[in-house]
Amino acid sequence: MSMRGRRGQGRHRHRHGRSGGALRPAGGKLVALVGNPNTGKSVIFNYLTGLYAEVSNYPGTTVDVATGRMGPHLLVDTPGVYGISAFTDEERVTRDIVREADMVINVVDAGRLDRDLFLTLQLVDMGVPLVVVLNLIDEAAARGLIVDAEALAGLLGVPVIPTVAVTGEGLEEITRRLGDARAGCPNPELVPRIEELCRRGMSRREALLALEEDADVGPRGGNCGPGREQVYRLRRQRASSTAELVTARRPRREATGAVLGRLLMQPAVGLPFLAGVVALLYLLVGVVVAQHVVEFTEEVVMRGYYEPAVRRLLGGLFPPDSAAAQVFLGEFGVLTMTPTYLLGLLLPLVVAFYLVMAIMEDTGYLPRLAVLLDRFFVGLGLNGRAVIPVVLGFGCVTMASLATRVLATTRERRIALFLLALTIPCSAQLAVIAGLLVPLGPRYMLTYVLTVLVVFVLAGTLLDRLLPGNSSALLIDLPPLRWPLPRNVLRKTLVRAGGFLAEATPLFIYGSLAVGLLHLSGALEALQAAAAPVVSGWLHLPSEAARAFIMGFVRRDFGAAGLYALDLTPRQALGAMVTITLFVPCLASVMVIGKERGWLEGAAMWLATFFIALVVGGIAVRLPGL
């Protein structure tokens, strides 16, 4: 899934160093792989770099960038974009890499040439040494579209290599013809203006970006041209006429994929399909993994083997019943509870969830879901694009909070961040919730889901009414429905699961250290006593539940796991799960919200979630008819 948004200008200097000079191999070149989303870029990247690619987060963004060796050169895979500008984080990353690159491999979809040539012509106008890879010629041919690669090469002035990336057809040509990369024929109407800016000391690439009023480059160029819209219109006309000239059409019946893709957006088919997807997800994550896999990993592996082993091994180092033994090996021990929760309970769930997410992304289902649910989200002051952060939120709310940058306006980002912080349980938390509520029968799970959904809709509707300004409407490209490639799906899943561990582990360690120390100093008991009127009186929970909520300040899943350990009646379990779901966002999310929206607004959101959680939790525990 793409994560986009707008950011300030400050960070771009050091990015250059990272993407460019510092990584450029001695004697080799820095080659950027650039293309629209869903053109098969990552398959080509895998082919060109082999097994040893490194995926890392581009500094200051949520954008992942893969780099790998290609002979003597370094190949950088850029995020899929429709053009290079400063509309989103991904475009900025791509733009900055292109500015540094010695040459660019541009992948285009032969069946969507009209759309893809916009980016190609932008690269041509920038004067970047370029090779165009005309991919998916098989898919285009199946739809009756034949693209004349040589004619396209003639019109663009750069080499064009026809390929079918998934079968490997034509891919060896890319390395062979890399040396032929050259700057193509720019739009003649832009040349005088570009040259004028170059005379003022700008590089060709910067000159074009300035001409297009790029938010980060533009101001330095002064008021110098016809403006972005005119440049874009010139380029759009050239892209469309070029695509028209080189494409031959033979009438074909519409592919079943296209028909299915459209049906998925019609409520009568789309909604039952969505219900099916949710049911499958629930079966896989909530039942198979949350119950059977976790039973093995948590109970057998971690509690059965790991914990006794670590106690035996290290028990000798600390006198039994000493403070250190409590902190490291006790009930909340850094070396006992932390690895058990993290590896035994959360990791299997998070992996299962990310796997499903990656499949949904790679099939092209998510944008269709955005269309299907657009109207629902418009009622909450958002648009269909908000499904991206919301779906991601079921994986990890922190990651989803960063993904709110895909939303176009501050107003939408504010609403989405609050809804995420308040109502969306992350996969780790969902797991505990499912583990606790599913055995009680469908009534409890259903009541839980409905309660949280009502809060979601009420909070969104209220924010939409109360916040000033307007939200933007949906405008998205719909990628074709395709079968996902297992290799790409696995790679994505593993990268994200690794990211989860890297982020969650330190917080878990600090959290259990804090709880351990609170416990030792007696402060935990004091806090528990202080919270008793609320926890026992209002929420009807045993007073030890306060401890779980205190852990919940660090991470909600941590809190939920603490509640899991208590002996609760069905009614108590429902109330406890509603409360912990709506409870304050985890520390990592709080940091993200603070950075995105400022600390004052972050604090307001935090307090709001705290009170709403307690109020709704108290109501849930009193619901009649259960």
């Binding site: 969507r112 972005r228 819209e229 874009y232 519409e254």
Partner: protein, 79 residues
Amino acid sequence: MTLNQCRPGDRVVIRSIEDGEVRVQALRLGIDAGVEVCCRGVLPGGPVILGRGQHEIAVGNAIARRIRVRLLPATGGRA
């Protein structure tokens, strides 16, 4: 008429796009005044799905209401 009034199967030519920011985004996706598109679907009160050849774009209702289009006569053929 405006884009949100189209029905599935209609072929239309875009006459104007009101919002400047939308205009620039649409240009990149291949939509501009004078371009012929086919309406591939409309969700009641929701987005309109536009097609140009194999390429499909979803346009939210609030934007579609501000895009003026001219309906082309039906040809009976495939758009």
